[in-house]
């Protein structure tokens, strides 16, 4: 069966696997194997384990939908991170999010400063009177 993990920023994962296990905080855990009937489920915070043979891949998902039909699993997530194990993927996702928030804050301050500086510069250069 095929599995694809999609976020608004692009497709993260698209492979053929044996089965997937879906875990979320509201729904608990269940697996989708080959020829499962069409199913839709949601993930608030959780992960999708994708197993093929001996290898396991984890996609950590925040706010997502899982849909399965005709042996195609679509995971639509608002935010997701694919990794070799779930703890590290989750950690990574959290770090990325945290960094993003901090960066936004910093940018906000920088932007404000730059704006003030520009205003001052315009005043000093008397650019309006050219």
């Amino acid at each position: 069966m095929k599995v694809s993990v999609v976020t608004p920023y692009g497709e993260l994962y698209n492979e053929t696997v044996d089965y997937v296990v879906i875990t979320s905080e509201i729904n608990g855990e269940f697996a989708i194997m080959k020829d499962h009937i069409p199913i839709i489920s949601t993930i608030d915070i959780g992960y999708v384990k994708m197993v093929s043979g001996e290898t396991e891949m984890f996609a950590v998902v925040l706010n997502g939908i899982v849909e399965h039909q005709n042996n195609v699993v679509n995971v639509i997530a608002q935010e997701a991170q694919v990794g070799m194990d779930k703890e590290r993927a989750m950690e990574h996702l959290n770090i990325v999010r945290q960094q993003r928030i901090e960066e936004n804050k910093r940018r906000s301050v920088d932007f404000f400063k730059a704006e003030q500086e520009l205003k001052k510069g315009v005043k000093e250069a008397k650019a309006g009177r050219l």
């Binding site: 692009g10 069409p38 199913i39 939908i65 993003r100 928030i101 932007f111």
Partner: protein
């Protein structure tokens, strides 16, 4: 007439400005392409979500959600999507104009609505106008905007909507028509109205007569509870992407015309410069000839 040196310095200044505007034009052009690609990539995901919602609602008549029910509108939340920086032609001012006109037409007092802003320009505009603001900090529309950037706003207006503090959410943004035209429009994102969803052509699977019947895990109601807020967020994200494309297009056209204008200015100045130089030469000549005549 201005002196030669003055004209010369103005020519160099204008040339430099036109170089900058030209560069900005090219930057915006490439960014526009990127934004368009992003929109294209995002559309299938959105359609998928919509299909799922339609499916669930069709399957089960019992399902309801506050986000689907229209109620009497007492307080509206407006979301203004603008840019962070200026130099984008009429991009921001057209939204603000449309918004103020809309407010004047539809509201008598400022208590009837609250405003959330996305983009620094909108934030300072709303603060200047003394409207009630939903977000305390400006949200920057970066070129690579992500959900987490405007997460706080979506959370707060979703909560306000569910708890009944606001009854409708309308977004003001510039719709992207093509590179030359962007129109300031407004769309309602909450409550979710079904009207515009049904225009789509009948889906393939229905045409085949084998519409898939899904199993819902754990149940349709819980899924719809989860899916609808997500859908709203995604709608807003889609709108922001489109506004972003509009911004780049608008900036591109503005910078193009600025470059053209600069060329005009330069050619006029060049004419003045040549005239001034010729005048100086003539004066010198008459001086010399006059002097020579005096000697003779």
């Amino acid at each position: 007439m201005a002196s030669m040196r003055e004209i010369k310095s103005r020519i160099t200044a204008t040339k430099k400005t036109s170089q900058i505007t030209k560069a900005m034009h090219m930057v915006s052009a490439s960014k526009l392409k990127k934004a368009e690609r992003k929109i294209k990539g995002f559309r299938p995901l959105m359609n998928k979500l919509r299909d799922m919602i339609d499916n669930i609602i069709e399957d089960d008549e019992q399902i309801t959600h506050p986000m689907l029910i229209e109620r009497e509108v007492k307080k509206v939340c407006y979301i203004l999507v603008s840019s962070d920086r200026g130099l984008a032609g009429p991009y921001n001012s057209s939204i603000f104009k449309a918004f103020t006109a809309f407010i004047e037409e539809n509201h008598e007092s400022h208590d009837e609505f609250t405003v959330a802003t996305i983009g620094f320009k909108a934030f300072s505009f709303v603060r200047r106008m003394n409207f009630e603001l939903l977000n305390t900090e400006p949200i920057h529309v970066r070129d690579d905007i992500q959900f987490i950037d405007f997460n706080k706003v979506t959370e707060s207006f979703k909560d306000d909507y569910i708890s009944g503090k606001i009854d409708s959410i309308v977004v003001f943004y510039n719709r992207f028509i093509n590179t030359l035209t962007q129109i300031a429009t407004n769309t309602q994102i909450l409550p979710i109205v079904n009207g515009h969803q049904e225009i789509e052509e009948p889906k393939e699977k229905e045409a085949n007569g084998t519409r898939l019947i899904y199993n819902y895990e754990p149940g349709p109601q819980i899924i719809i509870d989860h899916l609808l807020p997500m859908y709203v967020e995604n709608t807003l994200y889609g709108i922001i992407l489109e506004a972003k494309a509009s911004e780049h297009a608008s900036r591109m056209t503005a910078m193009k015309s600025a470059t053209d204008n600069a060329e005009d200015v330069i050619s006029t100045l060049q004419l003045h410069y040549n005239r001034a130089r010729q005048a100086a030469i003539t004066i010198e000549l008459t001086d010399i000839i006059g002097g020579a005549n005096a000697v003779n």
